[in-house]
């Protein structure tokens, strides 16, 4: 239960935070969620990772589909130097997931170090 609550809460709060704060506020969110909801460090990492990976990937996928993938081809050539829309979505999702994951891990360790 904590597992899914953490994922949902991290994703929702990340969405809310990014409406007003810079992109890296996802780290603060993941950190706080992990500090508040007790989980083992590994699981804290995983829930935060999954939350952001799914959330960001889905959002990219949704925006791109509505756009008939007009932009994503151009973006992938610009950013990852190859025409590969799904790889760019994965890279995007990984950025969010890794940052949130390590922040979640830190949050979990902080709780345990008390």
């Amino acid at each position: 239960m904590k597992f899914f609550t953490s994922i949902l809460l991290t994703a929702l709060l990340s969405f809310a935070a990014c409406l007003y704060l810079p992109w890296w506020s996802i780290a603060l969110v993941a950190f706080m969620v992990a500090a508040l909801i007790p989980q083992k460090p590994g699981k804290a990492f995983l829930t935060a990772f999954i939350a952001l990976f799914i959330f960001w990937f889905a959002l990219c996928f949704f925006l791109s589909s509505a756009n008939n993938n007009v932009l994503v081809h151009k973006l992938s050539i610009l950013i990852i130097k190859m025409d590969n829309p799904y790889l760019l979505m994965t890279v995007t999702a990984l950025i969010g997931a890794l940052v949130a994951g390590f922040a979640g891990l830190s949050g979990s360790y902080l709780r345990r170090s008390k």
């Binding site: 969405f15 990014c18 409406l19 810079p22 992109w23 890296w24 780290a27 950190f31 460090p41 960001w56 959002l59 990219c60 925006l63 791109s64 509505a66 756009n67 008939n68 007009v70 932009l71 994503v72 081809h73 151009k74 973006l75 992938s76 050539i77 610009l78 950013i79 130097k81 025409d83 890279v91 995007t92 950025i95 969010g96 890794l98 940052v99 390590f102 922040a103 891990l105 830190s106 360790y109 902080l110 345990r112 170090s113």
Partner: protein, 816 residues
Amino acid sequence: MKLFPFIISAATTVGLVTVLNSTLVLPAPLGKILNPQSGVWQNAESANENFNANLSFPNLKGNANVYFDERLVPHVFAENDEDIYFIQGYLHAKFRLFQMDLQTKAAEGRASEIAGSKAIQFDREQRRLGMRYAAENSLIEMEKEPKQKALFNAYTNGVNAYIEKLSPKNYPLEYKVLNIEPEKWTNIRTALLLKMMAKMLSSGTEADLEGTNAKNIFMPDELKAIYPQVNDSLVPMIPKGTVFEKPAIVPIKPANADSLYFNNQKLVAAKQAYKPNINNGSNNWVVGGSKTQSGSPILCNDPHLELSLPSIWYEMQLNTPTCNVYGATLPGSPFVIIGFNDSCAWGVTNAQRDVKDYYEIKFKDASKKEYWFNNQWQASKLRIEEIKVKGGVSVFDTIAYTIFGPVMFDASYNGMATNVSENRNLAIRWVAHDPSDEASTFYNLNRAKNYDDYLNAIKSFQCPGQNFIFASKTGDIALWQQAKFPARWTGQGLYIMPGQDSSFMWQGFIPQSENPHIKNPERGFIESANQRPVDSTYPYFIPGQYLIPRGRAIEHYLTTMNSITTKDMMELQNNYYNITAENIVPTLLKYVNENELGENEKKYLDYIKRWNFMANADSKGQTVYNVWWKNLQQFIWDDDLKKSKNNVAYPTSETTMELLIKDTALIFIDDINTPQKETIIQAVTTSFKTAATMLAKYEANGGLEWSKINKGSVYHLLKTNMPGFSRPNLTVGGNDDIINAIHDSHGPSWRMIVSLTQKTEAYGVYPGGQSGNPGSKYYDDYVNNWAEGKYFPLWMMNKAEATDKKVMATINFKKR
């Protein structure tokens, strides 16, 4: 104790954020631009984007409606002039903000604020050219009349109304990628944009520096032959035989001109690093009712500029109680620049006239504070320019302003000169610096009802020199070459002039009424394509960088055409006839020694023998001709021109063609670096063999079809910095000297055909799309049509047609 793992994981998090918030991959932080909630993903416009909106602004005076048709062309209906330009500004910003921002910053010499240190030289040159100074002078004129000022203010307010409500999440994609912010619009930015056009079209039409060095290599009679003022093959805009009035001004050559000027052998190292493309030319022509099937005039125009995404043009219809006009607008400026209204149509090509001269300045010392003029030391005005550099420290440049204008080149700046031994202090006298309001010409043209209105509208236009072509529903056709042109004595301004007194200054300007013009000629058509406007009987000395072949090709067709339809005109705008080739190829084939050619070489020669002189996309003959002719010109000229280590003017292709046809024993054919004397047979054959080696390489790398060598392309404004955002290597033919003047990323930037029948019938296309957003399906949706020579009907909409199924979306503007 879990402190240690906490520190490790926290440090990892901070490290990741730091790296992803840095600019290692792109100029912007990767995390920031890839965040799907606010980064570049947000620029992926929905394929079903609904452009409908209801907007209200305190600046508006009344209500207005914008109807977008299915190509996203806005048809704007407003109750008064100020509102229409407010909305024009708003729409320009909505669809083209980055382009307006970038172009005006670049015009002002602020590109380094966007591109960093690699743009410093560009910025220095813009400032030394006095671009901001020119815009400041222009602004004073633009804002002189309160009524006129109100229109520019309205436009500026419209742009800013859009910027103000823009959140970072909605910034155009380029801002996100470059990690910069949009800058507020001001009236001077409109002036800067128009000065950018002035630079593009009138700051490369002189060859004073190159000519100065040529004077050192060639004898006076050679100079006349190699750089003729009037080419034999010229077909001027104003037909030969036209009688010109007695000139109102007869400038007097200074008594010491020979010793101080013509026979002055001093060289110059300076070379403009960012000289505009000389082929910023264009075609326009108009056929009168006597030559058309409908009995009404047809006007055609295709300005040749750098092709970019987004395009330099944005299509609009503007309707107020004082005007109803349709055409190409320039984002950054109010008004329609090339278009038509309910009574008439107009278009422009570049005059290519020399309106910029260089004067050598003698400074008292390195401080540049004083210069010698009319027997005394005069104080110069020092302008200290701060060039801000993204990611670096500001660069300061001190520019001295003299009675002539800014000192562009001096000890601290010589452009891209390769040698510094011939550094000279050179001030420029450029018409673009003079106070003038070019924009009002377009305000008035948009409302012109007849020939007189047209003439009144263009009279105040000073720079860049343009050939304004005109046709009206009452049947008038006309052309005026219009600008403020200096009246020069013969030879004035071909080379650097002495600047130590006033004797070499311009003595006046050609009266406007004496500018070359023509109205309703008996032959029933008028054309201009950047050639010299008049033959040698025109009473003024008018140097320039003229382009001859396209005008000849257009005349070739229009002379014999009758019962002309709009479809005929579309075909002519897309025509590939290579008239220069038709003239020179017989000479090439006559003198090439086939006995010296191998089998493969003979195959290439065969392509040219069987060629129909059309530079089509799939033509191999055009490729062979192009490479061969280029090599032959190099064979003839390179040895002579390389006698100078400085930049020397290259004779034009037409001049070389004329010289060879006239004299196959031309002395320049000889390669001065060899002991023997080369003949035309050797020159033609050797250059063919060199060409064949190159052709074999082309053949191995994809083929000899002309489109593969010509490489017609439309690049994103940021060029190679934005791979994937461009449309390179289109299947198109053409060349600079072909009517369909596509060459590399240069060519017809807007093709327009207007038949002035009772109900106007108009067609147009440009290589781009209405939206500047690369994430929009309207970003490049015209490119294929343009490449295929297809057109869109231009819809002059009636307000009553608001319910027409062509109307895709509506924005209602209201006063708040």
